[in-house]
Amino acid sequence: MSRDLRRRQFIRSGTIAGAAVLAGCTGGGSDGGGNGSSGGNNASESGNGDDSSASNGSSANESGGSSSNSESPPTVALSIPSLEFTFFARMQEVFEQAKNQGTIASDSSFYDAGDSQSTQISNVETAISNDVAFLMISAITAEGVVNAINEANQNDIPVIAIDRNVAEGETVTYIASDNVQLGQRSTELCLNFMQESADMDTYSVVQLSGTPGASVTNERGQGFRNVVSNNSNLEALASQTGEFTTQDALSTMEDFITQYGDEIDGVFCQNDLMALGARQALQSSNMSVPITGIDGTRAWVELFADNQYYGTLAQLPEEMVTTAIERGKAYLAGEEVEDVIPIDGLEVTQENAADYIDQYFG
């Protein structure tokens, strides 16, 4: 029996430890997007980027920081968390384009950290020893790269944070989507759809929000509330979490339909995966109301062909990198650069859905 007892104790302690580990894992997974604006949301799509030129940074370059003030384009580096996410694969594409067009030197390096914190630190260190003119980084976690950023500061290499900010150290600027604005514009788009589809005095909208407590959820929710309070003809019927997932959004939407039924005039979802779930629930109840999301996830945009009242606000990683390169060069030229540069989302509706897919996923 004593052996049995020990076994049970082992299982018990193991279960507790495991539950903790797993809770950590799932927590991390769901608010991976909490840090910046991408993670959890873009996790749904990924990996169409080719790694062909992922790292040629080891080649010696004398033309680095020293000659950057001359006419020749600067040698720069871009470090991203993982090419697994389409979001970052798209960054790589535009980085390669910039190299080919001569906006940046051809020996500029792109680093994929493969979602490993230590790899990203090594990548930054490699960039520092290559003496790049400036470093662009989308950090895996805001805290994890602090030492590497400090090292870059000591070596007088300017740092530009993209999409996810860094916790400490000097950065030239921080370039990212403004989630409050994304929430606001997506809600407004939903209101426009509702006004187009029916003529009423007031419109009732429900919100499917993201993982509770994640900064993305709070900011996009803030945008939603701003629009509701600024428009007397818009009423927030209910708001509930869909955990940024299709499945939770589906269940929550079903409950909304049960409770409010035909009162619902429109649905605002804090990401596109939840919009997929909301659509599924509405379809099963033979209802059709306007739905808008955020992110520009391909699977959602592809559905726009069937319904003119579906929409989203796409995030544009391409523009983030282009802006980062442009502002970085301006900084090297001695210009003042804003501390934070928000990137506007692109409004995608039935009209430009095909173009959007061609341009960014073609």
């Binding site: 076994r7 299982i11 193991g14 279960t15 509770p212 499945q247 939770d248 049960t258 997929l276 779930g277």
Partner: protein
């Protein structure tokens, strides 16, 4: 094989008598604390919200709990046998996206679409393979199932990402989504799948030797071994069953969502296990049954649905869930003593 027959006869005196008593306690469900909790939730929500006790909403609840329910039924087997399966959510994911990609002929299986039936078989076979690997390592080498299934969790997660290319798959054939998304005689097919699996599993537990052996091993593995029960086969079997059920859950999820999303298993590990324990099963094996699991699943589902209907916000829901779970488990323990 004759000694197995004997074992059946002598078992009441040799096997932990507790295990036998609990096995037969299906007949006396009324004693269960969780039932009281479930009824309490129904009364409370009916009073608080007029939509709650409508046929449509109750069908919704059944539909919403079915996926967690199918996983919970599956994971009841290892739990009764004093094992645990931590890989269920990821197995659901990998089986779901595998079936979808093969049936559509996309991503990893670009341009190789096959008939839906074959895709389903391949998917469920893959699920069974996950269970068989963790089950074999656990049963043959004595590695705790906690660790082997944790390893499977990572493996299945990674394979799921590879197969799906980490992107949602849409445009599934209607014959595939029908398994979880159609309506038969006014009932969602998803619910029918759930209830038939529930009945099947209770029959296995109540009327087969395999079912008896599960309780015997869960109650006291050494005694079971001395009686000549093939402990290895039974432990392996429970993990295979759990993985296959998780695979079936993945299959019906395709119908429910109308698409395959690589994150569709997110947050689906703890609810099924919680439901099993909530339904009165012992986390360390030997007691519990499928009816209890059903009650546990319903408590979780009704709570969520009811709170959504009365419009409690996300933070309030978490608080309410914590309180109700604590009370339900307490009622469960008090009821059993």
């Amino acid at each position: 094989m004759s000694y197995r027959g004997e074992c059946f006869v002598v078992s009441p005196s040799t096997v932990d008598t507790n295990a036998i008593r609990n096995r037969l306690s299906v007949a006396s469900i009324g004693r269960y604390g969780p039932i009281v909790g479930l009824v309490g939730l129904y009364v409370a929500f009916t009073l608080l919200n007029e939509q709650f006790l409508t046929v449509q909403n109750q069908l919704n609840v059944l539909q919403q709990v079915s996926i967690v329910g199918i996983m919970a039924i599956g994971v009841t087997f290892p739990i009764l046998c004093a094992e645990i399966d931590l890989s269920i959510a990821q197995v659901l994911e990998v089986v779901g996206v595998t079936i979808a990609t093969i049936a559509v002929g996309a991503r990893f299986f670009e341009g190789q679409s096959v008939p839906v039936a074959l895709a389903v078989l391949v998917g469920l076979g893959l699920g069974a393979a996950f269970g068989a690997v963790s089950g074999y390592v656990t049963a043959r080498f004595g590695v705790p199932s906690f660790m082997t299934t944790l390893a499977m969790l990572f493996l299945a997660d990674g394979l799921g990402l590879i197969v799906s290319g980490n992107r949602p798959i849409i445009g599934l054939p209607s014959s595939l989504t029908a398994v979880g998304g159609a309506t038969v005689f006014g009932l969602p097919s998803l619910v029918l799948v759930f209830l038939s699996l529930l009945i099947l599993s209770q029959v296995i537990l109540s009327y087969t030797k395999f079912g008896l052996y599960i309780y015997a091993i869960g109650g006291d593995r050494q005694s079971a071994e001395r009686m000549g029960i093939n402990v290895m086969a039974v432990r392996l079997g429970t993990l295979v069953i759990s993985a296959v059920f998780a695979g079936i859950a993945g299959l019906v999820t395709l119908g429910r969502l109308g698409s395959a999303v690589p994150t569709m298993g997110a947050g689906l590990l703890l609810p099924p296990i919680a439901a099993v324990i909530l339904g009165g099963a012992n986390l360390f094996g030997g007691s519990g049954n499928m009816i209890g699991t059903l009650v546990g699943v319903l408590i979780l589902g009704v709570l969520q649905n009811g709170l959504n209907l009365i419009g409690v916000g996300p933070s309030g829901q978490l608080v309410a869930q914590g309180i109700v779970l604590m009370l339900a488990v307490l009622a469960n323990v008090v009821g059993q003593n």
